[in-house]
Symmetry: C2
Subunit: 370 residues, 2 copies
């Protein structure tokens, strides 16, 4: 077991009982405050540990990073150090924050309340890929738009279908998204029209952030894949369904998606999710050897979507779980690199809508309003 | 007329008669040599003007750039200064290189022979978009794969169809491309197989490089579009047709394309192409107002593809022209931004295969071998 994951660890930081950020998590992000320029930090309870300040105190020396890696407005320099270094830093942060630490005073002096911080997009994203890896979602969409009796296309159970998305318009959660204008064809017997999208949707997704991969021309095996995954974020792939419907044949989604995608400010390391590994579904037909994998490579992460109206009233519209994926991250990454496509540190690969088998677990309004 | 485009200009640099780089062109690129780290330069005949050195001499002061913009291994800092600055620098370089210049000696002292230089990918590419804007190409592909009587899909004449590609695997022309492995389904009645692509193709394209656009949420009109286009490169969208065929429905090209794309080292400014403007085709049906444009927005640029075997024997397999586009760059950029998608400096937008109406002008082996 990774030491920082030990269930018995307690922090000297006062952590609210319902916090998503106990000492066993320690997600990484980028924050700024009135006194601090944008810089890496680690969430603990409702506090943030200022990693730039911790590094300047010398407390991250000797772990495979340079102090300057933490004097940056993104996590890229840190992530680019690779899995061993990011794991070591998480381990050191865990030591600093646990009860009985000799360095608690030093760490406490550089804690910032989340309420006083602005959270930023944590990485500069080189390339963004979106997969389509939930069988329930693909099946629902196939039934709606194509043939109810053959909802999955012939390739779907053989390859983790994916497409390239737009990196420039990925913003941190909470950034307002402007309703897109564009071309749609509401009536097939009439010419297309221009105007605001009338079918704006969300998509409940998770996304993983990569460590630097191999050079162009080399592939990554499913066995190696975890070493190239730094961590995961929540992801909302906003979708203008009317624009998408008119544009997407034959080259895929474009303006129906690229007006904005929201990503959570905190990246939970793959290491922190280690205790939540679960088996994936039986894959039938059997996948080709380059997509085969051993062990548990799916993750039990409860997810929900709440829509809050202008009046402040909230309504939970979806309760799903990351474990519902058909294709897992190892398979997605191995497939992405099988042709030699190079992966850079800070690339983002999203899961596609995560729908579960029950109507209450559908991860998009397209399916909820079906 | 832009002063640097004057046909009567002559350079004191000795320029081979068949050069693509007379003083009226002055394309920008990035080069290095035994003595010089990678830095911006301008091609003139078979020489390169070292822009970092020119800037250090103070000869680019007062034009809207900083000297440090030219002490970079990409053109991004320069391009990020916007159209007025890049136009002014091209104008100043034209003055330095023309016959009778007072500063000829200073400029001559920082010329480097192209034969002694290594040419690099000229920009850091934030996002890469590939359009599908040649009617002949789209019609040929439609006839081959779909319905010969309805070769163009219903949306094709209403929107410049495009998709997001992979930025990480774009390399400078001349970089070896490794034949990709991947999953294909050679026989529809049998399971898919894994192996090297057996249908590796090129695609003759041009690509434009952008100045920084507007913030997320704002659009760019066709009238404004030229101000956001820095220049053009030659582009080869390598394509594994067998991988593409199996993967691309319904979300578009992915591993069939993202193993590598080649881009020319020299970016010809849109300004330098001003004398080559020609009218585009009549667009019928009439496009929506946001895609309408005035004047000549197509460009007469002769293009050809030669395949050279290992023995060194070359064969010209295609002679085409950029003027064959149905959708022009203004329309592509206005469409790309109509939904508020933000454009960054150094983004690349490629034309899609440029096929002409005659068989000898088809821009891909897919069509040539039809």
């Amino acid at each position: 077991m990774i030491e920082a994951n030990r269930p018995d660890l307690q922090s000297w930081v006062d952590i609210p009982a319902d916090s998503d950020f106990p000492i066993q998590n320690l997600p990484f992000g980028v924050f700024s405050s009135a006194e601090r320029s944008a810089r890496p930090g680690v969430a603990i309870g409702d506090q943030i540990l200022d990693l730039q300040a911790v590094a300047e105190q010398g407390l991250l020396d000797g772990l495979g990073c340079e102090r300057t890696d933490f004097a940056q407005p993104t996590l890229n320099a840190f992530i680019d150090r690779g899995k061993a270094a990011t794991r070591a830093v998480r381990g050191r942060v865990s030591e600093l924050l646990r009860e009985g630490s000799d360095l608690a005073a030093e760490a406490a002096s550089v804690l910032v309340a989340q309420a006083e911080a602005i959270l930023h997009l944590p990485v500069h994203i080189g390339d963004y890929t979106d997969f389509y890896s939930s069988e329930d979602h693909a099946r629902n969409v196939g039934k709606m738009f194509r043939d109810p009796d053959n909802a999955l296309l012939p390739n779907w159970k053989h390859i983790p279908v994916g497409y390239h998305g737009r990196a420039s318009s990925i913003v941190v959660s909470g950034t307002p998204i402007k309703r897109p204008h564009g071309q749609t064809r509401p009536n097939d017997s009439e010419p297309p029209v221009y105007g605001p999208s009338r079918l704006l949707d969300f998509e409940l997704e998770m996304a993983f952030v990569t460590h630097p991969g191999k050079p162009l021309g080399d592939s990554i095996s499913t066995e190696e894949a975890d070493d190239y995954i730094f961590g995961l974020a929540l992801f909302n792939d906003w979708s203008a369904r009317d624009i998408q419907k008119w544009e997407y044949v034959p080259l895929g989604p474009f303006l129906g998606k690229n007006f904005g995608s929201s990503m959570s400010p905190w990246i939970v390391t793959l290491d922190a999710l280690e205790p939540y590994r679960v088996p994936g579904p039986l894959q039938d037909p059997e996948v080709l050897p380059y997509l085969a994998y051993e062990g548990d490579a799916h993750y039990d992460v409860a997810l929900q979507v709440e829509i809050i109206s202008e009046s402040g009233a909230g309504k939970t519209v979806c309760q799903s779980n990351f474990k519902h994926m058909y294709w897992n991250m190892r398979q997605q990454l191995a497939h992405h690199a099988v042709n030699g496509c190079n992966i850079r540190g800070g690339d983002v690969m999203a899961s596609g809508t995560i729908s579960g088998p029950e109507p209450g677990s559908y991860g998009s309004m397209l399916e909820i309003s079906w």
